[in-house]
């Protein structure tokens, strides 16, 4: 938010926005793969068990 002039946003608002964007980024970063797995689990007719869904090893 540092690129925005001070008359558009106050320092406090900038700080809040920065915190909000950081939180969104963290949620997206760690939540993306669980989201992909969740889509795969819900959209499959015969719901595979969690271990089968997570494990890339062919024997499981």
């Amino acid at each position: 938010m540092s690129f925005l002039p001070s008359f558009i946003l106050s320092d406090e608002s900038k700080e809040r926005l920065t915190k909000f964007f950081n939180l969104t980024h963290t949620v997206a970063h760690y939540g993306w793969i669980p989201f992909v797995l969740y889509l795969g689990w819900t959209q499959t007719a015969n719901k595979p068990n969690l271990l089968n869904l997570l494990s890339p090893l062919p024997s499981v």
């Binding site: 993306w32 992909v36 795969g40 890339p56 062919p58």
Partner: protein, 470 residues
């Protein structure tokens, strides 16, 4: 060796009838795969599994000075993915690696799958749902915790949207890449945006010949001629970029073997590049590329070749099936004048003069039409034979006269595993000296004058990749 997730992405595009070769990015892909093929530089093991028909995952372990790795998950709601995806045991080597790619933009459009889809689209709206599918992909790297995310959305029959993202946990690396492609009326247009440097780009590709046509030397001709260009602008630094290319794909008239010629020009850097690629026989391919810079007058000549090998003991019954019968009736022009198709009941309704005229036309053009079908069957036979051949390994070699390097890659199948081993050898001392100087500059403990000049050619990189998938 093709990454498993790339293999799934290509299967997604096939299932949604999207032609990945028909864009400007891949206009020189035929020669690039023969000359600039990627060589593994580390030891890498990749294990992939299919949790369901639509969910795929991959574990990758890389050993280079330290052990690192990645874990990838992919979900797609595309229909019929099981038809296109096979485990490493069943996958043919031609599917597992990039090889000579004969690009036929209009043929893909006219392919059977696509025509079926189009017919369905016209008949019912449910078929539209079969095309408008999505793909979600995520890969997280260890130990850097960098996340690679991708969403591919087929919006409708003519449009596809791709969003890619790179993100690091410590907020140092955040890049979003958006690509929108539109294919309509022999034109493919692309709009691209990247948050790294606020880069905006526009690319287009136009295919001039929209259908197989009669040409000068051959009666049957399925050549394609394409022209494309790209324009880039980095808004943060106002750095422009552009290039334009031509591509001509055809077949040798007698043997039916495909060949591709391209010519690229970058007006800003004054760089001209021309390539020639051909499948010289059923198991060998060859490519040559000549680069020239108008401003510095530097030039470079590169060669690349592939040697496909198969077990001599294994029989290839599939290849011996003749296509002749199938092709004889394929050409619609012949069927019109074919006597067997002629309906005798209609003969009474046609005046005698017209019957005589029809017979004369049939007699005059029959030899040409037969020749046309013969040429077509030869061309299709070459593709069919290569795709159904049971190859066990392939040697890829490339060299560049200016860089004085030799690149070698061996790829093959062994007991259900896909293996890929490669090395790159530099014969020039200048390059090695520059590498050593670079290392010495970065290492403060070494004195600047203590540079070592190697006397013998040294392999710069060597790597091995093992891939297994179910």
């Amino acid at each position: 060796m093709l990454d498993f997730m790339d293999y799934v992405l290509r299967a997604f595009e096939r299932s949604t009838s999207w032609n990945r070769d028909n864009n400007y990015e891949n206009i020189t892909v035929t020669s690039d795969t023969l000359i600039n093929f990627p060589i593994p530089t580390t030891f890498k093991f990749q294990s992939s599994d299919r949790a369901s028909n639509n969910t795929f995952n991959t574990l990758e372990i890389t050993a280079h000075k330290q052990v690192s790795g990645s874990l990838a998950y992919l979900y797609t709601d595309a229909i019929g993915m099981d038809k296109y995806i096979r485990g490493s045991q069943m996958r043919t080597l031609q599917d597992a690696t990039d090889t000579y790619r004969h690009i036929q933009p209009f043929f893909a459009k006219q392919s059977q799958d696509l025509s079926e889809v189009r017919n369905n689209l016209q008949s019912n709206n449910n078929a539209n749902n079969d095309i408008c599918r999505s793909l979600y992909y995520g890969r997280i790297y260890y130990p850097t915790s960098i996340l690679e995310a991708m969403v591919v959305k087929r919006i409708n029959f003519h449009n596809q949207l791709t969003i890619k993202s790179l993100s690091s946990a410590n907020n140092k690396l955040n890049v979003i890449f958006v690509n929108w492609q539109k294919y309509k009326n022999e034109n493919l247009q692309e709009l691209t945006f990247s948050s790294d440097g606020v880069l905006c780009g526009y690319r287009f590709l136009h295919n001039f010949m929209s259908s197989p046509s009669k040409f000068n030397s051959a009666l049957y001709n399925n050549a394609s001629f394409s022209m494309g260009g790209e324009m880039w602008l980095g808004l943060s630094t106002l750095t422009p970029g552009c290039s334009t290319s031509l591509r001509y794909c055809t077949h040798a008239a007698n043997t039916g073997r495909p060949l591709t010629l391209t010519l690229s020009w970058n007006p800003l850097f004054g760089h001209i590049s021309s390539t020639y690629s051909a499948r010289t026989s059923m198991s060998t391919t060859f490519a040559a590329r000549y680069d020239f810079n108008l401003y510095s007058t530097d030039s470079n000549l590169s060669f690349g070749c592939e040697f496909w090998r198969k077990n001599s003991t294994e029989s290839t019954d599939v290849n011996k099936t003749p296509l002749k019968e199938e092709n004889q009736n394929h050409h619609h022009v012949v069927s019109i004048f074919d006597e067997t198709d002629y309906n005798k009941n209609d003969e009474k309704n046609i005046p005698e003069k017209q019957i005589k005229l029809l017979n004369d036309i049939t007699h005059t053009f029959s030899s040409s039409l037969e020749q046309m079908d013969k040429e077509k069957s030869i061309i299709e036979d070459v593709e069919h034979k290569f795709n159904n051949e049971n190859f066990t390994n392939v040697w890829k070699m490339a060299t560049s006269l200016r860089d004085r390097n030799i690149r070698m890659l061996w790829e093959g199948k062994f007991k259900g595993f896909l293996l890929s081993a490669g090395t790159e050898i530099f014969l020039t001392r200048d390059y090695l000296n520059s590498v050593i100087r670079y290392i010495n500059q970065n290492d403060s403990t070494i004195n600047q004058t203590d540079t070592v000049t190697p006397k013998t050619p040294s392999p710069i990189s060597f790597g091995l990749t093992i891939q297994y998938s179910t």
